[in-house]
């Protein structure tokens, strides 16, 4: 038998180990394939669901359809060329991917990031958080049948993408964060545009709530569905809004502040019972909190450099290249070989819109990382989907999947 048909045969014979036999003459379990191409899976996620009538008894996620070997690719590139590669993992939170990676490399290098760069990072991270939550809210509401929410959410998302384009030249995968700071200072007029956005955002979020909170269909589909308690979630490694919805206020921005998060005054929204409604409310409330952080970051934006002065790590300013031989040499060395990082290992966790995003970097002393691993929250949180939807209706499976908010680019990497 050839390798290919052998593969097809094995694929067809995927067994459901938890299937209970002996359902009697009138009942039997139905195994249903959902995906990988299905709009409600928010990406290329395939689920094998075992149904008893309309009730889900078990699901098995099958992933890897968009596995691109980013971690392997990262090992082939100098440190600074890895940034655009890791940004493409979780394609809705590219600033967070870059932040986790840069933070890990900076720790290994022992670099202190200038205060202005830290604030600019926070500003962009929180804009990104709002953007990510808006995509989640729009597509989730679409899954639940609320078409118009999608357009409203994407309207605000466009504003944020325009802001990203203004500060970095790109709408997505901006490569704005560098090892040691950010690539350049914010342009003239950017702060004013951000202020316009954060002035409008809370009332827009109110409008979303008005549209959804009084919608009987949405409420009955979310309330008291697919509850999972805090202890189970912790055992499964779940972090982020899903854990906070169950009442645990764990947020790395408060618990272990990085990049000056301790300078800002914000609250951590938590839920009470941990059902789908709490998951929805927690993320919705985070829209307001992120807006508050952005305002404070703009108000308190310190003066000073936007990147470290260490020329062994950061590129020299463009104008120096015409006059300084030393700057030209540094530029040449950085662009051709890249900087070297002392031997060591580092795990740098940050709070991404979906939970703890940890970047593990091992350096062997050369100009290329010996290992880059991303602990992506989507990958870990997806494990909680099966216990959540067990013994729930298949319609709730779709709602729960939307509330888990896995980004398949991050799951498969």
């Amino acid at each position: 038998m050839s390798a290919v048909s052998d593969y097809r045969r094995r694929e067809e014979s995927v067994t459901m180990s938890s299937e209970s036999a002996g359902m009697g003459e009138t009942h039997e379990l139905l195994t249903l394939n959902i995906g990988p191409h299905h709009p409600a899976t928010h990406g290329v996620l395939r689920l094998i669901a075992t149904l008893e009538g309309e009730v889900v008894r078990d699901i098995k996620p099958i992933i890897g359809y968009v596995h691109t070997g980013i971690e392997k690719t990262a090992e082939q590139k100098p440190y600074w060329k890895v940034i655009p590669v890791v940004e493409r993992m979780d394609y809705l939170s590219y600033y967070f991917n870059a932040m986790a990676y840069c933070g890990a490399v900076e720790t290994l290098l022992g670099i202190e990031v200038p205060p202005r760069a830290q604030y600019l990072r926070v500003l962009h991270l929180e804009l990104n958080r709002i953007m990510s939550h808006l995509v989640w809210l729009g597509t989730s509401a679409l899954d639940l049948g609320a078409m118009s929410m999608f357009w409203y959410c994407f309207r605000e998302r466009e504003t944020i993408l325009d802001l990203f384009e203004m500060s970095s030249g790109q709408r997505m995968h901006t490569r704005y964060f560098q090892v040691g700071g950010v690539i350049e200072d914010i342009p003239v007029g950017f702060a004013q545009k951000v202020r316009q956005f954060i002035d409008a955002m809370p009332s827009r979020a109110d409008q979303y709530a008005d549209l959804l909170e009084k919608n009987e269909i949405l409420l009955s589909r979310l309330r008291d569905t697919c509850v999972l308690d805090e202890q189970t979630l912790l055992g499964l490694g779940v972090t982020g809004p899903l854990l906070r919805a169950a009442g645990n206020p764990w947020d790395l921005r408060k618990a272990a502040p990085y990049s000056s998060y301790d300078h800002f005054d914000f609250k951590i929204p938590v839920g009470t019972v941990g059902d789908n409604y709490d998951r929805f409310r927690v993320r919705h409330a985070e829209l307001y909190e992120s807006t508050k952080i952005i305002g404070q970051a703009l108000d308190g934006l310190p003066e000073g450099p936007h990147i470290v002065a260490d020329r062994k790590v950061a590129l020299p300013p463009r104008h120096e290249l015409a006059t300084s031989m030393e700057a030209l040499i540094h530029h040449f060395k950085l662009v051709t070989e890249g900087f070297r990082v002392p031997e060591g290992e580092c795990y740098y966790p940050i709070e991404c819109p979906r939970g703890e995003l940890g970047c593990f970097v091992r350096s062997d002393g050369s100009a290329k990382p010996a290992r880059v691993h991303m602990r992506d929250p989507s990958f870990i949180n997806l494990q909680a989907a099966a216990p959540m939807v067990k013994d729930a209706y298949i319609a709730d499976l779709i709602a729960t999947l939307a509330m888990v908010d896995p980004v398949l680019g991050g799951v498969d990497r």
Binding site: S2, A3, V4, S5, D6, Y7, R10, E11, S17, I63, G64, H67, G69, E71, K72, T73, E75, Q76, T107, L108, G110, L234, G235, L236, G237, V238, W250, A255, A256, G344, E345, C346, Y347, P349, E356, G358, F360, R362, A370, R371, H373, R375, F379, I380, L382, Q383, D412, R413
Partner: protein
């Protein structure tokens, strides 16, 4: 992170309870790391769980090629109450890449252990469903190993099921 003296105290206690389990301990870049014997991983992690490090933040692997033992399995543990992290590392050889599964302590170790098996070929004894997770089921080799070449690998498409690659492999 426990500071250097806190790590020493932790390692001392650990060595009393499970003698011979600790191979080395290091404190660098603000990260406390305990290297343990792979045979005692479940006992050590269970003990650390009892000490408050009850959240498995991350489980990942790496390849120390050309140094032996080549494969590393790293458990990043987190104490949410004290906001304290400790890394536990076990190194296994490529000849016998076996280590006990920790799914019994943390059900969330399921996917990461499958990923490690997929990418590095580490066998987790006691894992309920140890299959490849990101690579195709019929894939040969473990691509994250450092001696695994990059590129030049034939891709499986439906149209070359009939002829060409894969037909008579």
């Amino acid at each position: 992170m426990p500071d250097a003296s806190g790590l020493d105290a932790l390692v001392e206690q650990l060595d009393e309870v499970h003698a011979g389990s600790v191979l080395a301990a290091s404190h660098a870049n603000g990260r406390a790391e305990i290297q343990i014997a792979p045979a005692s991983n479940v006992a050590v992690l269970q003990w650390l769980y009892g000490q408050g490090y009850s959240f498995l933040a991350s489980l990942h692997g790496l390849d120390y090629y050309p140094h032996e033992p080549r494969l590393g399995v790293i458990y990043e543990l987190l104490d949410m109450k004290q906001v304290d992290r400790v890394s536990v590392k076990a190194r296994v050889t490529t000849d016998e890449p076996r280590i006990a599964s920790v799914v019994g302590i943390w059900p969330g170790a399921d996917f990461p252990e499958r990923e490690l098996y997929d990418m590095f070929g580490v066998q987790f004894d006691g894992h309920p469903d140890l299959r490849r997770i990101l690579m195709p089921e019929d894939y040969e080799g473990h691509p994250q190993r450092r001696d695994f070449p990059v590129g030049g690998e034939p891709v499986l498409f439906t149209h070359n099921e009939r002829d060409g690659y894969g037909a008579d492999r």
